[in-house]
Structures are given as C-alpha cells and as structure tokens.
C-alpha cells in the first residue's frame, strides 16, 4: 500500500523494509546488474525494448488479477479469455469491420466473461477456483469453435492500424508498454485513493465485516472479475497487433504466469494484501529471469526451475517477515 506523506524518516524506512515489493525491486536491480555483466547482449537497447514489450502483456493481465486476488479470489480463466477476445477481434476485423468495432467486440467479450465469472462468484456464491476453472475450459473451447480451428491472419481495412498499435512504438517505447504504464497508474489510483479500492482490500481482510459495515460486497467482487476480464481483452488487442495473426492456442497457460507475477509482487492468495505496482514488477522479474538466463547461455529447459524457485522464495521472504514481526 502507498505510504502517506507524513510517514517520513525512520517510519518510512521501516515500512519500506517490511514491504515485499521493496525487496522484489532490490532483487530486480541486482538481477539486471548481474545479467548486464555476464551477458553482453542483455543491457542493449533492442533487448530492453523486447523485454519490456514481452512482459507488458502479462503485466496488464496481472493488474486485473491482483485486484481479484486481493479480494481473496482467483481468476484462472485469463489465458482463455484472452484467446477468445483475440479471435473475436480477428474475426470481426477479417469480415471487413473497422478496428473500433473490433475493439468493442474484443473488450465486450472480455467483460462478458468477467461478468459471468463475477456473477457466479459474487451472487451465486460458487467458489472462484471452480467458476474460473470452468471458464478456462469454456472460453478456450469457444475460441476453437468460432475459428473452426484455423489461423486468422487477415484483418481487413484497418489491419495496418491494428499492427501499429500492438507492435509499434512511440518515442522509442513499445506501445504496449505505454498502455501498461497508463493502466498501472490507473490501478494504483483505484486501489489506494478511491473508496472502491479500500472496499477491495476490506473484502479480502474480512468479508463479513465489510458487509456489516455497509460495503456492497457482491458488486465490488463482481467488479474485480470485470476488471480481470477487461485486462485480458486489452492484452489480447495489443497481442494480436504485435503477432500479426491469431490462433485459438494463443496465451495458453498464461494464467499461471499472471498469477505468479501477482504473487511475486506481494499479493496473498488468502486475500487482503497486494498491489498494482508489485504485480507489474513481478511480471518484469519473471521476464528478466527468462531473458537473462537465455542470453547468459543457460539451457532454456532450466527456465521453469528458476522462475518456480523464485516464486517460492518471494513468498518465503514474506512469511519470514510476518513471523519476525509477531
């Protein structure tokens, strides 16, 4: 959580040391330094451009995911929702409709999936793991149905614009990274400086207390899944433009990377803790480990081991922190 301006000096330092995101940032800096030394190609402009673009798609989804996880929920369906939104975008544009209509259909698909998830979880009160596991299967299957299992590579009259938005750059920054930057600011604002944000945290802390105090728990929970679905769709829109084609296999198992990013960034699966900035840093860290090891000449088969070990290590640091404080 953000520290208030009055928390200066030693109070601020103490709060910082307790914060998992702070340690993850330190780890990130150390890794960047180490990889810069051992791999010549790491700290080059083109590689940094690639790293930031690669992690931006995951990080955008991690923003939505962190909101869900703070409410003590989970959204396993984001990879499949991305795929369904992506193929809907592809089909609408292939049929000659404008990019605006394509974007509308793409974001609408993500929101609709989020609405179904959120409604079943918040109002029908089915376990989020079960609901989103079902959606993971449904959305992926629908993506295969609507594409008839074929690749889409023609996007009608606005194809160039689509490719430019997703794959292009502005002022030397990949467009997807700029979108990520704006969305991160928005989520930091929403989680820390609005009543909605406090309500998200309160639900993860003590849902019954939040309800008794007057928080509209069901609606706030629903909104969390809407955000998660929408972020998957935003990521889909950018990713299709970057790839220049789309298949129904896109973003397979991305939910695991997204959840891992969020958890590394300080979110607690029990709810009540986490943040937008942390989720983005978590996503960056995973990509840097992956990219750095590759450039350092490590056999890519080892990547999963390193990333996995880091996930556990990050949470272990958090656990250690809690036990020493008590």
């Amino acid at each position: 959580m953000e520290n208030n301006d009055n928390n200066i000096g030693s109070t601020f330092l103490r709060a910082l040391i307790k914060d998992q995101v702070f340690w993850i940032c330190i780890a990130l800096i150390i890794m960047i330094v180490v990889f810069s030394i051992i791999a010549d190609a790491f700290a080059t402009g083109p590689n940094l451009f690639n790293i930031t673009r690669n992690f931006s798609f995951i990080a955008i989804m991690a923003l939505g995911m962190c909101v869900v996880i703070i409410t003590a929920g989970i959204d396993l369906s984001v990879g499949s929702v991305l795929a369904l939104s992506a193929v809907v975008l592809g089909i609408v544009m292939r049929e000659g409709y404008s990019i605006w209509l394509g974007a509308f259909a793409c974001f609408g698909t993500g929101l609709l999936c989020g609405l179904v998830n959120g409604y079943l979880i918040a109002y029908v009160k089915i376990n989020p793991f079960v609901v989103t596991l079902g959606m993971l299967s449904i959305a992926r299957s629908l993506a295969i149905v609507v594409t008839k299992n074929a690749m889409i590579y023609e996007f009608g009259p606005d194809e160039d614009l689509l490719n430019e938005i997703g794959g292009g750059a502005t002022l030397g920054m990949p467009n997807s990274v700029i979108v990520l930057f704006v969305l991160t600011l928005f989520f930091i604002y929403a989680l820390n400086y609005t009543a909605w944000g406090k309500h998200i945290y309160s639900i993860g802390g003590n849902e019954e207390a939040a309800r008794l105090t007057g928080v509209n728990v069901n609606f706030v929970k629903l909104s969390a899944y809407l955000f998660s679905g929408l972020m998957a769709a935003v990521s889909a829109f950018l990713m299709v433009g970057w790839l220049g084609s789309v298949t129904n296999g896109i973003a397979m198992t991305y939910e695991l990377k997204v959840i891992a990013s969020t958890v590394i960034g300080g979110a607690n699966l029990m709810g009540g803790a986490g943040g937008a900035f942390g989720a983005v840093i978590g996503a960056a860290l995973i990509e840097i480990i992956r990219n750095g090891l590759l450039l350092a000449g490590m056999d890519p088969y080892w990547q999963g081991t390193f990333v996995g070990a880091f996930i556990i290590l990050a949470v272990l640091v958090d656990k250690f922190k809690i036990t020493t404080r008590r």
């Binding site: 009543a195 945290y201 007057g214």
Partner: protein, 246 residues
C-alpha cells in the same frame, strides 16, 4: 418518547424459529440490557434492527415511522450504529480505514477525487482522544490488542450523529479496566440522549448501566422490566427457564 418500536417481530431460518412475536420499545436516552442464553435470539434481534436480516413478520417503527432496512448501510445512514460481537474489523486495514469504511472522506485534485488520508487520520485521532484510548489511527488492526480493537469498533459508532447504538457483547474479550471504560462510554452516550441496546453475558455490567432489562428465551421475550424491579437472581432464573416469565 419511543425512538424505536419493534412490533411482533418473528424470524425463521428454515425450520428454526429464531424470534417469535417479539415486541420491544426503546426510549430516547435509554439503555436496555438484552439478556438470554446462547441461541435465545439476541444477536438475531440486533441484526434485524441493523438491517442485516429482515424479519419474516412484524414491523419496525423508527421515530414513529415504519422502516424496512434492506442492508446495513441503510440503517447506518439513518443513525443506527452497531458494535458487533466479533467487532467486524478488517485486520489488514488501518484503524482509520476501518473507522471510515464505506464512509470515506475525499479531496479533489484537478477534479479527480482522492481519499483524504490526512483528514481521516486526524478525525480518527480525535475520536481516540475522546475515548482516552492510545490507539493510533495509522496502525493496522492486526497488530492491536483486544482493547485497542474495541476502541476502533466503538470509535466507528461516534463518527456520525448516531441515535441508537447496538452493542453485542462489547465487554466479552477485554480487560477489567477496559470494561469500566466501555461502561463509562455507554453512560456518556446515554447522557447525550443516544439510546442503547446492550447485549452481554456479564450480569454485573448489565445491572450497572441499564435502565431496563429484557430477557429472551428460545426466541420469545419472557421479561421486560425496570432494572430496579429486578435482580440478578431473577434474571438468571428467567434465562435458564427456572422462572417462566416476569
């Protein structure tokens, strides 16, 4: 003058009759002690007044007008505050965030509303000072003692001009000194003309601050009398059923 009147309130949870035809009057500035064994329906009654549950039959008159609170925030906005048995606090939030939960304060910055943390900390500090509590507004509730948590729950009821404060076992989990402080606070509220319903298992506490005592047994009201006309022995007998009614 009656500020709250419950008229033949009944509530079932499936086949279980939690409350049967309960009538209850609460006057302005009055403290009513509500007693009964576990499962007698005390908390259910409180939650019906607070808008958490809705009665199956019966009506509630608040300031002589019929009300039907469908959610807790409706009751809160009408001036009915509750201190719940488990205090209903979010451990992961600060004291101030708990006090202002669903009543947040804002400031505008370039037309964009931001939570006004400074104001919320200052107001919370003022409330804790009034309660003579050393609880700090910026501390997270999970690091607090029982008494401090109690102070947060009570401070929340002081945030607005409450007319009725419902307290469900406010003295259950705190030290002897803190119990005296809570009882003092109840007298303070009463002197300001606020009406209170106090649920407690601790007979001495109830007899110390209440004007009237109401006893529930298995969902029915079995006694409703002035505290001066009753005694702890009589109330114990009423609670257990040794005495049928009084």
């Amino acid at each position: 003058m009656s500020i709250l009147a419950l008229k033949s309130i009944s509530k079932n949870f499936g086949a279980i009759e939690a409350l049967k035809n309960v009538n209850l009057n609460l006057d302005k500035g009055q403290v009513v002690g509500l007693m009964g064994d576990n499962g007698a329906g005390k908390s259910t009654l409180i939650k019906i007044i607070a808008g958490v549950f809705q009665a199956n039959t019966g009506e509630i008159l608040y300031n002589d007008q019929q009300v039907n609170f469908s959610k807790p925030i409706d009751a809160r906005n009408s001036g009915i505050e509750v201190v719940y048995q488990d205090l209903a606090l979010c451990d992961n939030l600060t004291a101030a965030a708990n006090i202002f939960l669903s009543r947040e304060l804002f400031k505008k910055f370039f037309y964009i509303p931001f939570l006004n943390y400074k104001k919320m900390y200052d107001v919370s500090q003022g409330l804790f000072d009034e309660l003579k509590s050393e609880t700090r507004p910026r501390d997270e509730v999970k690091l607090m003692s029982g008494g401090q948590r109690q102070a947060v729950a009570i401070a929340r009821t002081k945030l607005t001009e409450a007319k009725i404060v419902l307290m469900d076992e406010p003295t259950a989990a705190i030290s002897v000194r803190q119990v005296a402080e809570v009882l003092d606070y109840i007298r303070q509220l009463r002197d300001q003309g606020i009406s209170i319903i106090l649920i407690s298992h601790r007979m001495p506490d109830v007899f110390e601050v209440s004007d009237r005592i109401v006893v529930l047994r298995r969902g029915s009201k079995v006694a409703d009398k002035k505290i001066s006309n009753s005694s702890p022995e009589e109330v114990t007998a009423l609670i257990t059923g040794a005495l049928q009614s009084a």
